[in-house]
């Protein structure tokens, strides 16, 4: 199959479109009616049913509507109304939510580290300034560029998924370069740590160095997690069958950008406080 598809779950899409209210209409009736009227792309839908692989269909749904009515608000959603902004993936909503919630936790962790550093700095006058290895600035640049390449990759994947451009190479190239830049960042962090070590600055040398190592290592671990996510996106894009879900791509991108922003925050903190 040359034309790529976003995977979705029919029942869940339908749930987004038609929500139960206190009406006494048997819901499965409206379900079936709803589904048959859902065939805006009649031909592609038919082909999807014939496909041996259970891969979903391209369906335009306003994600916001799907989201609001998934839990059954008061106003019935209008399947044809509203501006169709994006390719829908209502099934993937938990992935998006999960990523945001996970990022809240990570943010809280670094808030805790920051407060700890502030308190520790005030508790004694042994806070010795350390000169940040200059490779850190290079790493920052790399991470920022990787965010840009990921955004471009996201757009290219979108174009590929819509079938406007059948070539896999372009999205894969951008995704691959993001992954490579991420790896360069992690290697760069190792270089930074070894440079500090060469200066005789170890984990326990001073409170400054302790916090430096703890925060940068914890951040690098999270970046490594992002590299895992990117690898997953690449594998799903490059396979014979395109199985990537919109939410997986978006979730990975949010996570990656957040790690970039977190790194810039850390760098500023390290520069100002350390």
């Amino acid at each position: 199959m040359t034309r790529s598809k976003w995977i979705f779950n029919k029942s869940r899409v339908n749930r987004g479109l038609y929500q139960g209210t206190t009406s006494v209409v048997p819901i499965w009736t409206s379900y079936r009616q709803g589904f048959s009227s859902c065939g805006a792309q009649g031909e592609t839908m038919a082909s999807a049913f014939n496909e041996p692989l259970r891969i979903g269909q391209v369906v335009d749904v306003d994600r916001e509507i799907a989201r609001k009515t998934g839990g059954g608000g008061a106003t019935p959603a209008n399947p044809s109304g509203g501006k169709l902004r994006s390719l829908a993936d209502p099934e993937g909503e938990p992935v998006r939510t999960g990523v945001w919630v996970g990022l809240a936790t990570v943010g809280m962790m670094f808030a805790a580290f920051t407060s700890a550093a502030v308190v520790r700095k005030g508790s004694a006058d042994d806070w010795h300034h350390i000169v940040l290895p200059s490779i850190l600035y290079f790493n920052t640049l790399i991470l920022v560029i990787s965010s840009i390449t990921l955004e471009i990759a996201r757009r290219k994947v979108l174009v590929y998924a819509k079938g406007e451009n059948p070539s896999q190479i372009i999205p894969l190239a951008w995704l691959g370069s993001t992954l490579a830049l991420g790896l360069v960042f992690v290697v760069g962090q190792f270089v930074a740590w070894s440079q500090l070590k060469a200066q005789g600055v170890y984990l326990a040398t001073s409170p400054t160095s302790s916090f430096f190592y703890v925060m940068t290592v914890v951040h690098a671990v999270h970046v490594a997690g992002g590299l895992g996510g990117l690898t997953r996106v690449i594998l799903k894009t490059s396979g014979h069958v395109f199985t990537l879900r919109r939410s997986t791509l978006d979730g990975t991108a949010y996570y990656w950008h957040f790690m970039g922003a977190l790194w810039i925050y850390l760098l500023v903190l390290l520069y100002v406080k350390f």
Binding site: I7, G20, T22, E91, P94, M109, R120, A204, P207
Partner: protein
């Protein structure tokens, strides 16, 4: 009926095959819920056993406890507990109970089992994360218990692990060399597990609700689990860094928590400049929300059961939810009330005292709503509803002493006495345990397909209810007359006259413990021999009572449930009785509108 996409993150998993997938590394939220429950059950009996040993030692400090040397040769030479070993048991009792019982049972166990069903979902949003979070918790448990089997034994620093003693290593006493490190690692692992679990709960609640299940249509216990997971998400995210820093101080020679010039056991500690208060701040920033992580799910479970037994809705569904949210929010700005005597700036004590007293407002509203709803109702007395009433009793009794402790001037006197121990055991320990019992009696038929024995259940209730008061009420008196906590024996002259009261408490503890064996027997017997449970034995309206007991692997079979009503349509003319199920499409003339 629906498309199963293998790439789906919200796994619509196929029926599990094989023993391992079904019962061990299961992705099914129900199996995971039961695993959490089992782990909590093991932990609670170990914890209770430890409390027995401590109580016995307190009143007969010089008498041998037969077989105690098997637990630790060093800690109990000639079967007589050393004072340090008493502290080891105390630490393990607290850690097991707070983390592995009070966090696991009402939140992770019941939440995992019933949250997806109550919102009409097939499973959690991320089943693999769910499985990981249980097995990570299990790993944390194993690491913690391993402290019993290493030569220097469990740590002696209490479940709060105050620095610098918890940070300096072996000089701080037996158990502080490797036992404390195991403790730190175990709790760090536990944090990761809880974060995974909380993330899963939030995503599930927000995104997997069935058609028609708006947020305000969720049962109160679902709300409680949801709010609790929001609390846990931020609280454990602070304890994890704290544990990382603590472990680094212990093994990597850093000085986060250890001040300069500290001499312990005649050794000058090779650290400098650390802040001991920092640990307390980080720990209690987690520790106080943790209290609500334990109590809110219990409050939710109890509300759910009470409404069912009252056969009419609570005075206000919305206000109950609002109060739980308010408690959740306030829990983040009161941590300093644990530290009034820590050397903090006295002005900050006032800043922490005020929100602490404010917390009593939503807590009181909750209690008044429960009591006002009970007033004039025809309550169905079952084991579950008895334990729900018992919860309210314990919540009030333990909560009232909180007024005293929230005020810095009174806390100066009561700090580190048995008054505090009585306070938190009643309001956090016993109340939450009563919530767990209520949930167990209520949901056991759904979880196992068998009814529990009601007579034994009521016997268990009265034994536990009276017993718990006999144990913990005298604690308040002991505290008021100046009995300090964490002493292994009372040989000081002013404490000697209190020993008879301590003896009474010990007898009460042993008796109450014996009543728990009735519960255990009931649990095991009913699991195999109990009468078969119908689909809806309690005539309850929420979604879990629309599916078979026990539910099939995919909960609702191949249909997606549709919700038509607010959760508690009781006391009305329905086609099946005085209630209408949430999924029933029938029209109700006078619908209780929770909005």
């Amino acid at each position: 009926m629906h498309d199963m996409s293998s790439a789906s993150a919200t796994q619509h998993h196929a029926p599990p095959q094989g023993f391992i997938r079904k019962h061990v590394f299961s992705l099914d939220h129900k199996v995971i819920g039961l695993q959490y429950y089992g782990l909590a059950l093991v932990a609670v009996f170990i914890g209770m056993f430890l409390s027995w040993l401590m109580r016995i030692h307190l009143v007969w400090p010089n008498s041998p406890i037969p077989g105690l040397h098997l637990l630790s040769k060093v800690g109990a030479p000639n079967d007589i507990m050393t004072p340090e070993y008493y502290l080891s048991l105390l630490t393990m009792h607290g850690t097991l109970m707070v983390f592995f019982v009070l966090t696991n049972a009402p939140f992770a166990a019941f939440g995992n089992y019933f949250l997806p069903i109550q919102i009409g979902a097939e499973d959690m949003a991320f089943p693999r994360f769910n499985m990981m979070s249980f097995w990570t918790t299990f790993l944390a448990f194993v690491v913690l218990i391993a402290a019993f089997f290493i030569p220097d034994g469990p740590p002696i620093s209490g479940w709060t692990a105050y620095a610098p003693l918890s940070a300096v290593g072996g000089d701080a006493g037996p158990g502080m060399a490797y036992g404390q490190t195991l403790w730190g690692i175990s709790i760090a692992i536990f944090c990761i597990a809880s974060l995974l679990g909380a993330l899963n709960f939030i995503a599930t609640t927000l995104d997997l609700r069935a058609k028609g299940m708006s947020l305000m249509r969720m049962p109160i216990c679902t709300w409680a689990w949801f709010i609790t997971s929001c609390i846990a998400l931020l609280a454990f995210a602070v304890l994890l860094p704290a544990c990382i820093l603590l472990c680094l101080d212990r093994v990597a020679g850093t000085s986060f928590f250890i001040p300069s010039g500290l001499v312990i056991s005649d050794h000058l500690q090779p650290h400098s400049g650390g802040s001991t208060l920092l640990w307390q701040h980080m720990f209690w920033f987690f520790g106080h929300p943790e209290v609500y992580i334990a109590i809110l799910p219990a409050a939710g479970i109890v509300s759910h059961i009470l409404v069912n037994s009252l056969r009419r809705p609570l005075l206000s569904h919305r206000v109950v939810i609002g109060c739980m949210m308010a408690i959740g929010f306030l829990s983040y700005i009161v941590w300093g009330h644990h530290m009034f005597l820590s050397g903090m700036n006295p002005f900050s004590a006032i800043a922490f005292s005020f929100p602490t007293l404010v917390i009593t407002i939503p807590a009181t509203i909750l209690t008044l709503i429960w009591l006002g709803s009970i007033y004039g109702s025809r309550l169905r007395i079952t084991s579950a509803s008895l334990f729900a009433l018992g919860f309210i009793s314990m919540f009030v009794s333990g909560g009232v002493s909180g007024f005293f402790l929230a005020q810095p001037s009174i806390d100066i006197y009561l700090h580190a006495t048995y008054f505090v121990v009585g306070h938190f055991h009643l309001v956090m320990g016993v109340a939450a345990i009563f919530g767990i019992f209520a949930g167990t009696y209520f949901w056991f038929p759904k979880m196992t397909g068998h009814m529990m024995n009601e007579t034994l259940g009521k016997l268990h209730f009265w034994g536990t209810f009276i017993g718990a008061y006999c144990i913990f009420m005298p604690f308040h008196y002991l505290g008021l007359v100046g009995n300090v906590r964490r002493y292994a024996a009372f040989t000081d002259d002013y404490l000697v006259p209190l020993i008879p009261l301590h003896k009474f408490i010990t007898f009460a503890a042993l008796t109450t413990g014996a009543f728990q064996l009735i519960f255990l027997a009931n649990l095991i017997y009913s699991r195999f021999k109990g009468p078969k449970a119908p689909v809806n034995p309690w005539e309850c309206t929420s979604l879990e009572w629309t599916i078979p007991s026990p539910p099939p692997w995919n909960n609702f079979g191949d249909v997606h449930p549709v919700v038509y009503h607010d959760p508690y349509q009781y006391g009305i003319e329905g086609s099946t009785g005085d209630y209408v199920m949430q999924t029933s499409p029938e029209k109700i003339v006078t619908e209780h509108d929770e909005k």
